[in-house]
Amino acid sequence: MYIVLSIVSALIGGGMSWIIRLELAEPGIQFIQDPQLYNVMVTAHGLIMVFFVVMPGLIGGFGNWFVPLMIGAPDMAFPRMNNISFWLLAAALCLLVTAGLTGTGPGTGWTFYPPLSNSTFHSGPAVDFGILSLHLAGASSILGAINFITTILNMRAPGMTMHRMPLFVWSMLVTAFLLLLAVPVLAGALTMLLTDRNFGTTFFAPEGGGDPVLWQHLFWFFGHPEVYIMIIPAFGIISQVVSTFSKKPVFGYLGMAYAMVAIGFIGFVVWAHHMYTVGLDVNTRAYFVLATMIIAVPTGIKIFSWLATMWGGSIEFKTPMLFATGFIALFVVGGVTGVVLANAGLDVQLQDTYYVIAHFHYVLSVAAVFALTTGFYYWIGKMSGRQYPETLGKIHFWLTFVGVNVLFFPQHFLGVAGMPRRIPDYPDAFAGWNMISSIGALITALGTLLFLFIVWRTMAAGKAAEPNPWGVGATTLEWSVPSPAPFHTHEELPRVSAQPAE
């Protein structure tokens, strides 16, 4: 269900991004006559992709399905809470769509910076709807997180010690803790913004002694862990897939697990690197530069451990493995540009330009979505009982891989040249790279259509899946049960003796 919601949202959000790219294909206003509409699209695209595609897909979808399977639990700890969590999210999506259609819509960007988001500059209920939507989505995430942590801490099968858990489970555990700590802060900040808008409080309004910069601190205290919330489950999936198709255990299992913990932890102390130009003290900026760069170390450990897992392996490039390798490639490119952006001195040039857009689309849009796709191809047999068509899957990979690179790589150049983000029209000098970028969007869109066709083919005419279609490399518990996995699997608790990852 989460995955269906995620795919539907992806189509909405992706459609919007496609319109944005079409608008930006050439200089001048193409067909979005009202720049406010453009801003609303940008806002909605961001919110939908973050809260309704990547999070439900990776966490809600694969997490809820495979965490209990992998640790040998019959189901999540609180199945009913899980259900509530899903419907909250569905309601949140409806609210967000309502927000987009109300009045002139929320044109604030997904960051909702006041004063632009306050009642003076965005009167009307659109932003209120947006805020409530995030509240619901946040509540849904918190419930989900509680459920995950409880399940993982209390319901492991006998013998499944913490250090024997598959890395995907580790990644979900770290993610759940990040959610638990970060989302309430967003909820608090959103509530304050809501009362600022409607009840005359002045938490973020300078006229009442508030400070708009405080919003940015609170938002990014949530916002930065949020990006790890999106990418850490991806790390988990990639680890499983790389290990399976290399027919080797994960290299440096403990290092991998604790690298995720480290990334999650450091993720909480780097938030102000989103705010280098806001007027922070120079020593503060220096601290955030260093703290941010340190994240590169555990991230590097993960990248090299994946490569070392592949090294000496007997690698079969089935579709999931292709997407996983694609993920690593894209994540490296997005990762090194992250190190560039960490430098406050240089960030002055790049802040709020297309360089940032390129960076986070490489690590989130592309890498996280590649992880989603990896997970889909890897587990679809287990979930539906039917295997996907292999050749079409491979074509899908190459189309998407080429498409996203053509789409996002030129945006680095645009950013360095100084093109600001969130503008519906740009100086003529930026035309060339924008055109190429839009062509990339076209290729990617073709890939997406092919993906829809593959989903339909799999469901309608896919071959029946065996319990374990991947052979000796697939050692985690979910492959020991039939496909599709029956409800309340592991009623009789399996006993785990061999360490799955070593």
């Binding site: 002139t104 409880t150 209390n154 309430p184 007027g279 922070l280 020593n283 029209d425």
Partner: protein, 209 residues
């Protein structure tokens, strides 16, 4: 120990974990709200983000032994929702380090109704803020001006001589003190004024409130 007993125990374990996690959530949300006063306090104590210190005892810190001085510039802003004229009486003054000085801003109400305003302020460069000590000022106090009335608003301050010793701030030769006047949040005509904000039209786009 039979199976049902084990199940009850497992369920209780889950419940305890879940409750502890709910506690974490409530704690974090509380922290978000607590951040508002904490942030303000933090800024005042450390001078972070250009918030000048406020002297509690009303005493200057003692003159600088070396007789150095610094330039202080005065800057004024008025939010468009407030029909006031607000200007410093002096563009800048030269102040010996450690000695208290007095500057005056002049505010006039240009409208036909009495209006209450309130001012925020900061000091640039940010790193100089911890050394800029205000002894007395009108900041954050609500100021009411009668229709077409005016008032002088004095600020007295001194610059801590330690500014010349700190390696970070040694290069600072000029400090800018800036005030921005807003219509007070409690002012009854505030919302009406906001609604009538003018919108600028460019040919490229439609104006939008």
């Amino acid at each position: 120990m039979d199976a049902s007993d084990r199940q009850t125990r497992a369920r209780r374990g889950r419940r305890i974990t879940a409750l502890a996690l709910v506690g974490v959530v409530v704690g974090m949300a509380g922290l978000a709200f607590a951040s508002v006063p904490l942030y303000r306090l933090f800024c005042q104590v450390t001078g972070y983000g250009g918030t000048p210190r406020v002297a509690l005892d009303g005493q200057a810190g003692g003159a600088d032994a070396a007789g150095r001085s610094i330039t202080v510039r005065f800057d004024a802003n008025v939010n468009p929702a407030l029909p006031w004229r607000f200007k410093p009486e002096q563009n800048r003054i030269q102040v010996p380090l450690g000695e208290s000085a007095l500057a005056v801003y002049r505010a006039e109400n240009l409208s036909d109704t009495p209006i209450t305003g309130t001012a925020t302020f900061n000091v640039t460069p940010n790193k100089a803020a911890p050394y800029f000590v205000k002894v007395q000022c009108f900041c954050f106090d609500e100021q009411r001006l009668e229709a077409h009335g005016g008032a002088d608003m004095p600020v007295s301050f001194y610059v801590d001589p330690a500014i010349a010793e700190d390696p970070d701030t040694k290069d600072v030769s000029t400090i800018t003190l800036s005030y921005t006047f807003f219509r007070a949040a409690a002012d009854p005509s505030r919302s009406a004024a906001n609604l009538s904000r003018p919108a600028v039209t460019t040919t490229a786009g439609t104006p939008n409130g």
